[in-house]
């Protein structure tokens, strides 16, 4: 039977734990190493950059690259600040709009039973099947016609293409998890349908709302294709687009690139690590309910 027949239970557990730890560390290193190497490159002095064999921890770490590309006094820094501002505005506004519009819709899909409900909900789900390219060309043309190209409004509206269906899907999952008896009890007590929705159900879904908002925000913050296509002036670029242009304009400046990339990632990673629980709940709620 088991080759560990002579080993005590405690020792078997210990061996188990060590083996598990080994593999966890291995995969964690795989997951984290690009970020670590990015940081390592960003703090390396220029002459150490192409040293062979490569060093993970530089002998004389420096912040000169961060200073060069990110300080507001430097030309790059001004650009970077502008990109950051653009990303923030577009992500925040599209998240707020998306959640505001999705909440009543998700509630309706969860609780009501009106003609066309299934078709409409299928339409919401089906959006995922459409390649983003299918929207990109017409959206590009549409924004030109509406004179919204290269504006915040244009990008925000375009972002609704993916944040809306996603928010509706996630929120419906959360609403489905709340028992209908609660509304029934409220209505017996004299609440209107809308009142029950706003005063009883909404507060209960606060975690779900937060999770959905976070998820939409992260998607919008990291979005590249629409931002690239629907803006063309430097002052309207978002962070991902700015990073790409930085690279094409400074092809050999790997440390500067890595410094910028690292700085862009940090807010999202920290925000995510703190709010992990809600984030994971959002992803799985919607899926398991299906």
């Amino acid at each position: 039977m088991s080759q560990f027949a002579g080993v005590s239970r405690k020792q078997k557990n210990l061996i188990n734990t060590i083996v598990i730890y080994f593999f966890i560390l291995l995969i964690s290193f795989f997951a984290a190493c690009p970020l670590l190497w990015m940081l390592s490159t960003a703090i390396k002095p220029r002459d150490q950059l192409f040293r062979i064999p490569p060093q993970w921890i530089p002998n004389h770490p420096t912040l000169e690259h961060f200073e060069r590309v990110l300080f507001p006094t430097r030309p790059n820094g001004k650009l970077f600040f502008r990109y950051f501002l653009n990303s923030t505005i577009v992500s925040v506004v599209s998240t707020i709009l998306s959640v505001a519009v999705s909440v009543p819709a998700a509630y309706a899909f969860s609780r009501f039973n009106f003609p066309g409900k299934d078709v409409a909900y299928f339409g919401v789900l089906a959006r995922n099947m459409f390649p983003l390219i299918v929207f990109l060309i017409p959206l590009f043309i549409l924004m030109r016609i509406l004179r919204l190209q290269d504006t915040y409004a244009g990008l925000i509206i375009a972002y609704l293409t993916f944040t809306l269906p996603l928010s509706i899907w996630l929120l419906k999952g959360f609403f489905d998890g709340i028992p209908k008896e609660l509304e029934r009890a409220a209505r017996i007590d004299g609440c209107t349908r809308f009142g029950a929705f706003v005063r009883i159900i909404l507060p209960l879904t606060a975690p779900g709302l937060a999770a959905t908002a976070i998820y939409s925000f992260i998607l919008a913050w990291n979005e590249f294709a629409y931002a690239l296509t629907l803006t063309h002036s430097t002052s309207m670029r978002t962070l991902p687009v700015g990073l790409a242009y930085f690279f094409t304009e400074n092809t050999a400046d790997w440390p500067g690139l890595m410094a910028t990339a690292f700085t862009i990632s940090v807010p999202v990673v920290i925000m995510f690590l703190i709010l992990q629980r809600y984030f994971v709940a959002a992803l799985t709620q919607g899926a398991i309910k299906q």
Partner: protein, 314 residues
């Protein structure tokens, strides 16, 4: 709030009420539509309209030199299926999609199994393992581009240092290796998604199943094959279909890392459509390719969902 309907109310002990017609049901539920109106309105504008417009545009030729567009029927589609690049791009897309999905799934399953164990600090590691998923695609692409650099990339240099190879490997410049490298990066980026989904699935498996199996003398491997895998089937199907659709829609990683090069060897369908649109400005032709892609995805999703629901019915 009671609404007065136009229906006949049934007298007590009387005959069966006629079911309300469609129009009457719409009127009765008219307040409901207010809830979905803003969402449906926005979606009609930014989803439905572009979709219909793309189909429309696919039947036209849009020359860059002149503002008019010319109706040319199915010529765009004909050109598509006869294009040399079409088969290369299709092959690359399939390689990219299937490769990334399978690798991400396996890695995600391994990670989920590991993270599901009760070891100290497991929450921290779970957080670390999700980092690839939340880092932006552009950031990830440049980080990996630097890691896989043909001359100074740390991966090549480390392999040289350990004596496995002599010359640095041009991961992204070699036609033979470029798709593999891109799939590796995509796997890195996507496996946390599979891990999260599968972890949720693992946590819904009742412990009693395992207890009963242990009583019957099953070892860990048998428990895994007979209990874990079958119980994970539903979440597996949902996860894989989401991943396949997501991967077929990928744009940023291939575009930023190689732009489809060298010489279209890493061109997948989305980057191809993008390059045609914005380099040659042939929006009609690009729209035709988009429509074909949509049809493929739709058919795939339809059959997948049918298999999924048939499985559940069993």
């Amino acid at each position: 709030m009671a609404t007065i309907t136009a229906e006949r109310s049934a007298p007590r002990g009387g005959f069966v009420k006629k079911p309300p017609g469609l129009l009457q049901r719409i009127i009765r539920h008219r307040a409901d539509y207010l809830y979905i109106a803003p969402a449906i309105g926005v979606m009609a504008l930014v989803i439905l309209y572009p979709f219909v417009y793309t189909i429309y545009l696919s039947f036209f030729e849009t020359p860059a030199s002149r503002p008019e567009i010319y109706f040319n029927g199915l010529e765009n589609y004909q050109e598509l299926f006869q294009a040399d690049l079409f088969w290369l791009v299709t092959r690359n897309t399939i390689y990219w999609t299937i490769g990334s999905t399978i690798l991400s799934f396996i890695l995600g399953l391994a990670a989920a199994l590991l993270v599901n164990q009760k070891v100290p600090l497991v929450g921290l590691f779970r957080g670390i393992l999700v980092i690839p998923y939340v880092i932006g695609h552009v950031t990830a692409s440049y980080a990996w581009r630097w890691l896989l650099h043909g001359d100074f990339g740390v991966l090549s240099q480390t392999l040289i240092q350990w004596g496995f190879i002599e010359q640095p490997i041009p991961f992204l410049q070699s036609p033979a290796l470029v798709m593999l490298s891109l799939v590796l990066v995509n796997t890195w980026k996507s496996f946390p998604f599979a891990m999260i989904m599968l972890l949720a699935g693992l946590q819904t498996i009742p412990e009693d199943l395992y207890k009963a199996a242990r009583v019957d003398g099953a070892n860990s491997w048998q428990q895994f094959i007979e209990i874990t895998l079958p119980q994970l089937m539903p979440i597996t199907m949902v996860t894989t279909v989401l991943m396949i659709i997501g991967n077929m829609n990928s744009f940023t990683i291939p575009y930023v890392m190689t732009g489809g090069g060298p010489a279209h060897q890493s061109e997948i369908i989305i980057t191809w459509i993008y390059n045609i649109s914005f380099q040659t400005l042939r929006f009609g032709y690009a729209s035709a390719i988009s429509v074909v892609l949509f049809i493929v995805l739709f058919v795939f999703s339809y059959f997948y969902v049918r298999v999924l629901t048939r499985n559940e019915a069993n």
